[in-house]
């Protein structure tokens, strides 16, 4: 047991150690920045989601207010959340977002895994080029790639023109403004986030393990299932979280590629905020989304601390 005085002395000694002041600044500056501009804003969203909406700027009632008799009144309402549950629009958009994000993640895992596997098994002199071709879209504008998808999918776009000139179809397939376009858009934009972590995991796999499995009589398919797949699971998990979490709240893709048939929660939040100017309901939508994502985000955090920081 340390006495308070002793621990104070220890702290002073620690401060006098070379570099202690530098260490403090290195920690305090980013800590304060993130607390102020990441954590505090989320708490404000939580606060405003239980505020009453009023006409004005800002368009919500303050939670704490000095009443005339100098007592503090607390205005707290859950009506915004009740509204979310009562109105089908919100529930449908919420469930639809989860469904779209989950299916897109699954498709991305299958496509991304196959491509990462293909890259890893190709000859070394090709691998560099193949990887570059994955990294370039990763750096290229997200908005531009969605825009390219419009030109690709629309009625007189590349896909339809090609299929029609080949005589596969007589009239254009209506892909744009359907849920299918949203799925294609999400898989297309997030695919590099799936391929890169799976590739990294596959590349680390020791080939002698596969040789051992085959020496012991395992068929290639079985060796894949029992050796390669389990060893690459960390990559699959990281990729899935990197796709699923942002996809749930996606706004640009359903807005530009989807139609009325594919409402998503990010679009609803946007409309509540910019069109209805109902900040408390928009905040309640954000809180509902956060409630869904808190477990995946924490999984990602835990995963990231092992994955990026290695030993610590």
């Amino acid at each position: 047991m340390k006495s308070p005085a002793k621990s104070f002395a220890a702290r002073v000694r620690k401060l006098n150690q070379p570099g202690a002041a530098g260490r403090m600044t290195a920690l305090v500056i980013p800590y304060a920045w993130l607390a102020l501009f990441f954590l505090l804003p989320l708490l404000i969203v939580l606060k405003i989601s239980v505020a009453e909406s009023v006409m004005g700027i800002p368009p919500y009632e303050p939670l704490l207010r000095l009443a005339e008799n100098a007592t503090v009144q607390i205005h707290l309402t859950f009506s915004n959340f009740v509204l979310l549950l009562r109105d089908d629009m919100y529930v449908v958009a919420y469930l639809n977002s989860v469904k779209i994000a989950a299916i897109s993640t699954l498709v991305s895992v299958v496509v991304g895994y196959s491509m990462a596997y293909g890259i890893v098994s190709s000859p070394l002199r090709w691998r560099y080029l193949l990887l570059m071709l994955i990294i370039i879209p990763f750096w290229t504008s997200f908005l531009i790639r969605i825009y390219a998808m419009i030109g690709f999918l629309k009625d007189n776009g590349l896909v339809n023109n090609l299929l029609m000139s080949l005589g596969v179809i007589d009239q254009p397939l209506a892909i744009m403004y359907t849920p299918l376009a949203v799925y294609i858009g999400i898989v297309y934009s997030y695919l590099p986030f799936m391929i890169l972590p799976i590739y990294a995991a596959l590349e680390r796999t020791d080939p002698s393990l596969l040789e051992a499995a085959s020496d012991l009589g395992a068929r290639p398919w079985k060796a894949f299932l029992r050796v390669t797949l389990p060893l690459s699971m960390p990559g699959v998990v990281a990729g899935s979280l990197l796709v699923f979490i942002p996809a749930v709240g996606e706004f640009v893709i359903p807005e530009l590629l989807g139609g009325l048939g594919s409402p998503m929660i990010g679009k609803v939040l946007w409309a509540e905020f910019f069109n209805n100017r109902d900040w408390p309901v928009a905040s309640a939508v954000a809180v509902a989304m956060l409630a869904l994502l808190v477990v995946p985000v924490m999984m990602f955090d835990r995963f990231a601390s092992r994955y990026f920081r290695g030993r610590s």
Binding site: G22, P30, L40, P58, T140, R145, A148, G249, F308
Partner: protein, 265 residues
């Protein structure tokens, strides 16, 4: 893994890269189209590139976005490098779990939540402190916050690879910690810092959602201009702009990788 590439892997790769690249290739192709109709070929022309040079809304948006991206990247590279130091070198300090969480969560946080929450903060701050006025400055703060997460990831993975005995040796020889960082550590991690700077710049330059939430009247970034134009329908000018962007980014990525590759080789 060695041996011949199985036909399955080849067909997957061909299909996968076709999927990734045919929309982009067709976008570039039609940027040189004479016709206004983006998908009907009417002969080669560079007129949409010329028209772009006279599109004041897009040009001023691009200028604003470049300034924001430059400031964002510069702030984020400082914050991210400090955060990476704290996470890799400071052991288990009090509040480490919260700090690590705050550093990584912005990587995956949906943009609408980040944008909305920061706007609500700025409005509250403006009410209490009378600062900041919404516009370029608030976009920079918002972008720097999520870009810091990316810089931290890039720098800390490099910092984790460095042989600490170099720093310890310098300390044993009597160098002050600040000097050790300046003479030993920074020269070793600057390529990662540069990569983080470029990543932050690109992310900021590309962001639509967070900028729309946190911007004020009069500050319209390039993605905001592009988005409102795309909402009206496809236009060959946007194809031309996108082509320029893709060419610039592709050459930068190729050059950066060549440099990194040569350093390693």
């Amino acid at each position: 893994m060695n041996g011949r590439l199985p036909w399955f892997a080849i067909s997957v790769l061909v299909l996968g890269y076709l999927f990734l690249y045919s929309p982009i290739v067709s976008l570039i192709f039609y940027s040189f189209n004479e016709s206004r109709l983006v998908t009907v070929w009417a002969g080669f022309s560079t007129k949409w590139y010329g028209a772009l040079m006279h599109n004041d809304a897009l040009l001023s948006g691009a200028w604003l976005s470049l300034q924001i991206a430059f400031l964002t990247a510069s702030v984020a590279v400082v914050l991210g490098t400090l955060a990476a130091f704290a996470l890799i070198r400071f052991g288990n300090f009090r509040g480490r779990t919260l700090f690590a969480g705050m550093v990584t969560a912005p990587l995956v946080m949906p943009e609408v939540i980040t944008g909305l929450s920061l706007l609500l903060l700025f409005v509250a701050m403006e009410g209490v402190l009378g600062w900041p006025e919404r516009g370029m400055m608030t976009i920079v703060i918002a972008h720097a916050t999520f870009a810091t997460a990316y810089v931290t990831v890039v720098v800390q993975s490099r910092l984790g690879q460095i042989d600490m005995s170099l720093e310890e040796a310098a300390m044993d020889l009597g160098a002050r910690p600040f000097k050790v960082v300046r003479v030993i550590t920074l020269p070793l991690i600057w390529p990662a810092m540069l990569a983080g700077w470029l990543l932050a710049f690109t992310l900021s330059f590309d962001d639509l959602v967070i900028a729309t939430f946190t911007s004020g009247p009069g500050a319209k970034t390039l993605p905001m201009e592009v988005f409102s134009s795309v909402r009206m329908g496809v236009s060959p000018q946007i194809n031309a702009l996108a082509t320029i962007f893709i060419v610039v980014v592709t050459s930068m990525v190729v050059i950066a990788n060549q440099v990194a590759f040569r350093r390693r080789a």
